[in-house]
Amino acid sequence: MITLNTSAFARRPDFGAIVGVIMMFAVFSLIDFSGWWSGSTLGNILQFTAILGCMSIGQAIVIMAKEIDLSVGSVYGLTGIAFITLEADLGVPGAIIAAMAIAGGIGFLQAMAVIKGKIPSMIVTLGGLFAVRGLIYVWTGGSVRSLPAESRAHWLTQLFGGELFGIEAAILWTAGLMVVLSLVIWRMKFGNRLLATGGDENTALSQGIRTDRVKIRAFVLCSLLAGFAAILTLADKPQTHVTLGDLMELEAIAAAVIGGCLLSGGRGSLLGAVLGAFIITGVRYELISLGAPASWYISFVGLVLIVALIFNQSLIRWAGNRA
């Protein structure tokens, strides 16, 4: 009975990420105990994990539907810049609503191009990545923008960027979103249809599922989460630059894949995506704190991604043999 339960646990898509996090804690504790466990290191790691994790949750949902969204880094940047720029005219609440509407709108437009234009999402969102980044340059003219002091003190800014019981708001928001959206995916109709659409679209269609609508919702959700990650970031550190969110789309995809999302669709985990973001962020901060040049970081993300994939694959095989 116990073996049955352990093998069921090992068959979870996020099992590899859970093991990975445990290993990361073990290794970093061994080589750099005081640095790794210091409040500021872990605090920073958790803060950035929350932001990347928020984006990775959306990416995981799109990947579960057997699509991909390469535009999230640019959407993150544009949403952040829209929030800061529009705040002058609309105030904090208005700017947040407008910025999120822009994010959702981009997601919807890209989804329509994928569904109605029958273009692979890899291409559509690659176009989105460039087009939206271009918009950022045009809109800001390369300038740096920031929020005035009274807007930083606004209760909404504090709700997304402040602290609660000494915990950064972003951490609580991402944790909450992960729990709620996991319930939506695993315990509600939409999730069942999303997993079916990603796992076997023809079957989903044959059972009367509107797979086009499922995918549109997944893309919009993904863009909204990328936009929300930007709100979480800028409510805390309200300063924008044109490269805001650059390369974050690749980190989000890496996090989702490390977390057990299969690019072939229909399998994944939102907890895994957040843990994947934690692994990527943890490796980055620990490398910096160990004194490695910052430029190494991106190579290490690549390495972690490949090692994690090999690890996940062998875990699936191992769990399959035990079933």
Partner: protein, 266 residues
């Protein structure tokens, strides 16, 4: 356009002068055929004969270029799989119908998931989903140790077909279209699936059974419809022709029939 009134004596499915082109390819040529409840129809023909295209129209996947489709005497104007399901038309195909990445219970209710409200939020009713699929697992002869929570990828080909047929019965369908349901199955599994097809017919459903194997379907069917090059070439009650005679029709492209019957050239 006038609304066609419901007609109780009308055939369950009637197709008139159906035409369908895929670009230059003329997939269905002026096909007219009708099917009644409580019949098992053998739909036979070579690859590319148009039989799968015909059932894809009936299951709402393809919209015909011209011609009419009637369901229980009522003209069908829109074509979408969702509408076909609403009419009670279920298509069982070898490669489609179950998602490997989901459990049997989740697959069973795919697209019509039952919900139970908690604080007003509609969550999936897993108990109902498990109970109904467990009942089908037991009645339709799956292995003893298969549970409703098992992933579909663990099932054999015959077990998959049994689940799909069980689902068609559970949701009180009126038409079950079986597209080559016994391909890649073992001899025993094939017999099991064929028995299930006859049971569905005996319960008053219309069963349309598509196959290459005229000998197999001749044993099961009440009526045989042969298609060739997008046209219906033969439509006979089972007793009118033997399996060997029908095989001869297929071999000769539907043009030549044995000497006892003359077919008018079209």
């Amino acid at each position: 356009m006038s609304v066609t009134p419901m007609n109780k004596n009308a055939p369950l499915i009637e197709v008139r002068n159906l035409d369908l082109h895929f670009g230059a390819f003329h997939a269905l040529k002026n096909v007219s055929v009708s099917f009644d409840s409580g019949q098992l129809i053998g739909l036979v023909g070579d690859n590319g004969a148009g039989k799968t295209t015909l059932i894809k129209v009936l299951s709402g996947i393809h919209k015909p270029n011209s011609g009419e489709v009637y369901f229980a005497g009522k003209r069908v104007k829109e074509f979408h799989p969702k509408l076909a399901i609403k009419f009670g038309i279920e298509t069982i195909q070898q490669s489609v119908g179950l998602c490997d990445n989901l459990s049997i219970a989740r697959n069973f209710y795919l697209g019509r998931e039952p919900v139970k409200r908690w604080f007003g939020i509609p969550f999936l009713d897993f108990k109902k989903m498990r109970d109904a699929s467990t009942k089908v697992i037991r009645t339709f002869g799956l292995r003893e140790n298969v549970s409703a929570d098992d992933q579909v990828e663990m099932l054999s080909g015959g077990e998959r077909q049994s689940i799909k047929i069980g689902r068609a019965v559970e949701f009180k369908n009126r038409v079950v279209i079986m597209d080559e349901p016994t391909n890649h199955l073992s001899v025993r599994e094939r017999e099991h699936v064929n028995e299930l097809a006859q049971q569905l017919r005996d319960q008053g459903l219309l069963v349309i059974y598509i196959t290459h194997d005229i000998h197999q379907v001749h044993k099961l069917a009440d009526r045989i419809v042969i298609m060739e090059n997008g046209e219906k070439v033969t439509d006979v009650a089972k007793d009118e022709m033997t399996a060997d005679e029908l095989e001869e029709v297929i071999r000769c492209g539907g043009r030549v029939v044995d000497t006892s019957k003359e077919v008018e050239p079209s």
